[in-house]
């Protein structure tokens, strides 16, 4: 296979070099107009080490993650391909991974995927032929030159395998068993579900540090006090502590996002300075334009790491 030129170091290289990994996220649009998304990619590509691309996020049909990963590559960024098991069976996933590999996609975040009824195609048939732990194993099998049918491929693939974990899940113990299984299956690094409570996160990291994996703290930008309350009450595995809700509530009218930026910048700084995690994954959800501000306020310039 011909050599692929990479504009940026891979996630694996960043982590292996002991650098603090900073990633952002691109949520593809609903429809073929991808101009705004391309602008988001331009805004992020040099500010973060890598960009996750969501895969029909929240079970809402969108522009494909794989195509977006290629756009990021073409733009000179580093994509982190999210793959879910909701919409494709094992054959379709394998075929997509072959394509991704030949086009220089180096890291894959393995997810089960949200359930179909939470999205915008409520009548669709959920696939879930396999799930996240099995997906990690599937990639490992393909790295050994075989497919899941046990057939030899003409060459192996190679990916840096990532997964997610929910540190605030209640109860936590079953979640930790699954975390352990993902590690055993071959996940090398984890991004967490959104965390807001640093004490809880530090506690979780104490356990997680026993495993030979790198962990990025997942941070979701709060843009209003309503959002903070909503996340707290409606998103399982997400806990926004009262002091942050109060802080968001005390924001001047129309300036809540500034407070959200301030909070996230503070957390990024704390995570980095206290070595709480190996990096941060910033989810600005449609507000990609403010990511550079967050990093500035956090005094974090990836070119200076």
């Amino acid at each position: 296979m011909s050599e692929i030129k990479h504009a940026k170091p891979s996630i694996e290289e960043i982590l292996d070099n002991g650098k603090f990994l900073v990633s952002g996220e691109i949520g593809p649009p609903k429809g073929p107009d991808i101009e705004e998304m391309k602008e988001h990619i331009e805004l992020l590509k040099d500010k973060v080490h890598a960009m996750n691309i969501t895969d029909n996020q929240s079970s809402v049909m969108r522009y494909p993650s794989l195509a977006t990963a290629l756009l990021i590559k073409e733009a000179g960024g580093e994509p982190n391909l999210q793959v879910t098991c909701r919409d494709r069976n094992r054959m379709a996933i394998e075929a997509d991974l072959l394509f991704a590999y030949t086009r220089g996609i180096r890291s894959v975040l393995c997810l089960t995927g949200d359930s179909v009824p939470v999205g915008d195609h409520k009548d669709a048939k959920p696939v879930f032929d396999i799930e996240s732990v099995q997906l990690i194993n599937l990639i490992r099998t393909m790295e050994e030159g075989k497919d899941l049918g046990g057939n030899e491929m003409n060459a192996p693939v190679k990916f840096f395998k990532g997964a997610i974990v929910t540190p605030e899940a209640v109860p936590l113990e079953p979640q930790l068993i699954k975390f352990e299984k993902k590690v055993e299956a071959g996940a090398k690094w984890f991004q967490t579900q959104a965390i807001y409570d640093m004490d809880n996160f530090a506690k979780f990291m104490k356990t997680a540090r026993d495993y030979p994996v790198k962990i990025q703290a997942g941070l979701v930008l709060l843009v209003s006090v309503g959002m903070a309350r909503y996340m707290n009450g409606n998103v399982p595995g997400v806990f926004v502590p009262d002091d942050l809700i109060d802080e968001m509530a005390s924001a001047e009218k129309g300036k809540a996002i500034d407070t959200g930026i301030k909070i996230m910048a503070r957390q990024v700084k704390q995570i980095r300075e206290e070595g709480l995690a190996d990096g941060v994954h910033i989810m600005a959800i449609g507000k990609e334009g403010v990511v550079s501000r967050i990093l500035e306020e956090a005094e974090l310039d990836i070119t200076q790491l």
Binding site: R86, R90, T112, G113, D114, S115, P117, V118, P126, F128, D129, I130, E131, S132, V133, Q134, N137, L138, L148, I164, V165, T166, A169, V170, P171, E173, P174, Q175, I177, K178, E180, K181, E184, A185, Q193, P236, G237
Partner: protein, 223 residues
């Protein structure tokens, strides 16, 4: 138990729009328990259809609606009533409707939607606990099936949407993996949960399923 729900009456009427007369088939088993095809419902359907100007030529309540041999026998016994009807309305499950298909040349129509294989919790309350996957793994999951009872059918532990033991999709429903965890913990067998479960074989029985029990040597006809 095959759990069914009656279609809205206007849908049933639409199915029967070309039929002036109807023969009704109920089921004494599952559809009776689900109150979709028992004596009361067949009687009620007879009245409602009559009210809409349809002639109900007769009815039969099968002991078990999906037993094709019995059904053919019953249809022969009701030959005249069946012969006068323009259509057969089957008030059992999809299997019962297709059993009727085998027993008559008349058009057959379903009165019910067939929902799932359900356990009976109490009268009128059903819950799906088996998905008929063909490869039972209850031995490793503390007798609680994640294929049926986890919304995503995950085999290796809970998803991130689990919430205080409930499922994110429906807070009325238990998270199967929390139940499995609790059960295995009680048994001191959490190692079963820690063991990796490989992708499932979804084709243990080639669709459509078919099973013919081997007969004992010397008994019956054939091989």
């Amino acid at each position: 138990m095959i759990v069914t729900r009656q279609k809205p009456f206007e849908v049933i009427l639409k199915e029967l729009e070309d039929s002036k007369s109807v023969f009704l088939v109920g089921c004494g088993d599952c559809a009776t328990a689900c109150q979709t095809g028992g004596e009361d419902q067949v009687k009620e359907m007879t009245e409602k259809l009559s009210g809409e100007g349809k002639e109900v030529t007769g009815s039969v309540i099968m002991e078990t609606g999906c037993h094709e041999l019995d059904l053919k026998k019953e249809f022969r016994a009701h030959k005249d009533e069946l012969g006068k009807s323009g259509a057969v309305l089957v008030m059992s499950c999809g299997a019962g409707c297709q059993a009727a298909r085998e027993g008559t040349e008349k058009p057959v129509f379903p009165a019910n939607d067939t929902l799932f294989l359900g356990n009976v919790l109490r009268v009128g309350q059903f819950e799906e606990k088996c998905r008929l996957c063909g490869d039972c793994l209850l031995d490793i999951t503390g007798g609680i099936c994640p294929v049926a009872r986890c919304h995503k059918g995950i085999l290796n532990g809970p998803c991130g949407g689990t919430n205080e033991g409930k499922c994110e999709v429906d807070p009325e429903k238990d998270c199967a993996w929390t139940l499995i965890y609790q059960q295995l913990e009680k048994e001191g067998k959490l190692d079963k949960m820690r063991a990796y479960q490989p992708p499932k074989n979804w084709n243990t029985v080639l669709k459509p399923g078919r099973l013919v029990l081997e007969r004992e040597k010397g008994g019956g006809k054939g091989e």
